[in-house]
Symmetry: C2
Subunit: 449 residues, 2 copies
């Protein structure tokens, strides 16, 4: 009997995770992964640091090459785009982008790991040279090559989310003047304004020109190359533009076979990765994920989640069902020396979802004030006013921010109340914390009301 054939569309995080896990768990599976790019299985989150030069070689970002997958018995085809599906026939139409030829392949089960693309605003000049998005290794290498060749002096970054901030840092590190344009009056919408103000101050101190509350109107160029960005009726000179205005799921193939789409048009999947279409599965940035606080699927594409969904799906395809219960909404980034993390719901998000909330902001130091190199840290905790459960945390500081938000994330998954969280047995020694960790100080203050 021929072994069951699984075709995976998409070869970055979720797709390769699913394929590798499935093959490891059930070596009898015949697995073929199609990826559009020349590179597969790389850390897209590392791309800003490749561009900045912090990571010297793009190959460091690659977890596994097609040759390595082949040794494990997984076929990975690069520069192959799946253009069409026929689920009933178990058939995909594939274009070899290198040879520009098309062929058919057959599957018993199909995995959609088609990822997401930048939600590019439809303004004039968006296709000028020097205007980039940053999603793929291809994008990252193109930006790097353009900077090396054109030596831009002025850059505009459109969008002040995680990628926007990381690219602002990367470009500043390269000595390029940066203007950061954002439609809303704040940066990093995962944080409340009373926290993100600190980030705005740090951006300004680093010399980033901020244009907040400014709608992108268009891009102007000369000889097909960008020279200016127009936003909020102001002209910003730019020989390099990064469009970082958020992403939307690549769910067209899923829609074409009748799979139900959810929030933001992302593919609806269950906790093992089933779509609503038999034999068709999905994972990663093209999918929804269950939000454990909101108790509903949301669109929140992140590398960690893509890996978890991929691994979960891979195990399921190999016969091992272990549902992935979802996320609480944790993220972290840094701008220069400022570390910024959030988990769960901000006050603004909680209010949007109908919660009655209480919150508290405290200012402390990342470890005992008397021990060398203690630096400021700000913690905001948000609680459900109805039952006292913790709803979210936001932390900004210079050290020990990311792991402190993880402490909150685990408390959120455990549905812990603020009152219980305020007395947790967190580690203490002067080089690492105050006797009341800033998390406990915040929780104690919030528990008191």
């Amino acid at each position: 009997m021929a072994s069951e054939r699984v075709i995976v569309i998409g070869a970055v995080a979720a797709g390769t995770s699913a394929a590798a896990k499935a093959k490891r768990t059930n070596p009898d599976l015949d697995i073929c992964v199609y990826g559009r790019e020349a590179h597969v299985s790389y850390s897209a989150c590392g791309l800003p640091y490749l561009i900045s030069g912090a990571v010297a070689d793009y190959q460091a970002l690659i977890a596994r090459t097609p040759a390595q997958f082949a040794r494990d018995g997984v076929t990975v085809k690069t520069e192959h785009e799946v253009t069409d599906l026929d689920v009933a026939a178990g058939r995909v139409t594939v274009r070899n982008l290198a040879t520009n030829t098309t062929f058919h392949d057959h599957f018993d089960r199909l995995v959609l790991a088609t990822g997401a693309r930048v939600n590019c605003p439809p303004v004039r000049g968006i296709e000028l040279q020097g205007v980039f998005r940053l999603r793929s290794m291809h994008d990252g290498l193109a930006i790097q090559a353009y900077i090396n060749e054109q030596q831009p002096k002025h850059a505009v970054v459109v969008g002040a989310g995680y990628i926007g901030l990381e690219m602002a840092e990367a470009l500043l590190d390269l000595g390029i003047s940066v203007t950061l344009i954002n439609r809303s009056k704040t940066v990093l919408s995962s944080l409340d304004d009373d926290m993100s103000n600190q980030i705005i101050e740090r951006l300004e101190a680093a010399g980033v020109h901020l244009a907040l509350g400014a709608a992108l109107e268009g891009l102007e160029g000369k000889a097909d190359t960008v020279t200016h960005v127009v936003a909020g009726k102001v002209d910003y000179p730019a020989e390099l533009v990064i469009i970082a205005t958020g992403v939307q799921p690549n769910s067209e193939l899923a829609a074409s076979c009748g799979a139900e789409l959810g929030e933001a048009g992302a593919i609806k999947i269950d906790q093992v990765g089933r779509t609503t279409v038999d034999r068709v599965f999905a994972a990663g940035d093209c999918c929804t994920v269950d939000h454990r606080i909101l108790n509903k699927p949301v669109y929140m594409p992140l590398g960690t989640t893509a890996n978890k969904q991929g691994r979960t799906l891979g195990a399921f395809l190999a016969g091992h069902e272990r549902p992935f219960r979802g996320v609480v909404g944790t993220s972290v980034t840094k701008f220069a020396d400022l570390h910024i993390a959030a988990t769960g719901l901000s006050v603004e998000q909680a209010l949007h979802h109908g919660y009655h909330v209480r919150s508290k902001i405290i200012h402390s130091t990342d470890h005992a004030g008397y021990y060398p190199n203690a630096r400021p840290i700000t913690v905001k905790l948000v609680a459900n006013a109805a039952d006292g459960t913790l709803l979210g945390g936001q932390i900004i500081g210079y050290d020990d921010v990311a792991k402190r938000v993880d402490v909150v994330a685990v408390a959120l998954a455990g549905r812990m109340t603020v009152d219980e969280f305020a007395w947790q047995d967190l580690s203490y020694a002067p080089p690492f914390s105050s006797v009341w960790d800033p998390l406990l100080v915040a929780a104690q203050a919030l528990a008191k009301g």
Copy 2:
């Protein structure tokens, strides 16, 4: 009506926490704190760093002075020792150590925050000059003065627990040669041997002479001053000796009034700080604390716990009952650049308490391997083989160790299974973690079996 009088015996962490919290919560209380030392309300955990010079001024370790307490309406008497109790009469006998006079004071309710003392081995020469313990500010300043005056070249530290390691580091920092003697063949008994081996390597690399598995036999001196330590039949030259062989509770006053004692002779208290004697309360290093995994009171004296017990008791004395549910057994320290943390039960401890366990050690990096300055981190997780719940974690590395152990500590308090923990939504960005955080890598490995 005269206000109710609360006498607190002990003026470091628990005693001053209780007094301050009680007065803040109910300003009508008449509160008097008696402390034996000249200094009160200081961070004893900071003393090794005062001795090393990392903390320049001992006053930086002091949270609040008697004058500051007085402004808040709390009387704090320094150099006063309570020598006797009559609970029925509501009377304490107090000796003013400065004037060597004795008087009586009256209480309606009494708080015992008498702390702990070093469990000094009864060997010859223990009272020689140059032999110190490190519990109090008095001890710390005495060690500092002795080092300045005598300029010792060789030190012996007896005991390889947290204080032993921290003092080894401090003395090395001062250019003093250090021999570390320990009765058992390992260091830091809160960790399993397969983890603490890394610490032994780091101690040796730093030039610490190790005498493990060596029983302390005695101290030799000349003209009342120590010159040698004899252990395991070997003579170690030492003009300075630090006895760091663990502590025992100062529970004699409690015993004298009939209060029940528990593990290690510590005062048994309930979750608000009641002893078994009416009107007598206790908190801090003289007390037991509930262990949330073992579900029983244990003796585990730590500064964080003392503060939590003190605050809980203070609130209770002021009429606000909020039980403290106890600890999971979290601790952290560092030796040189090596950070060492543990929470919950080690394999050895779990076996001792009758658990059937599974455990896993993984080696990873503290953040993405391709991002600058990634360093090794080792994580060990321990699970209950019967039901899969997490029992403990041990982490050794160079960064992000303390907060990672806090993530495990919160999972322990929530009685999380390893399988659930393995999929937690921890923050990810290349400067802070790998896409699978080392904690998740360990949990995934352990969940798999």
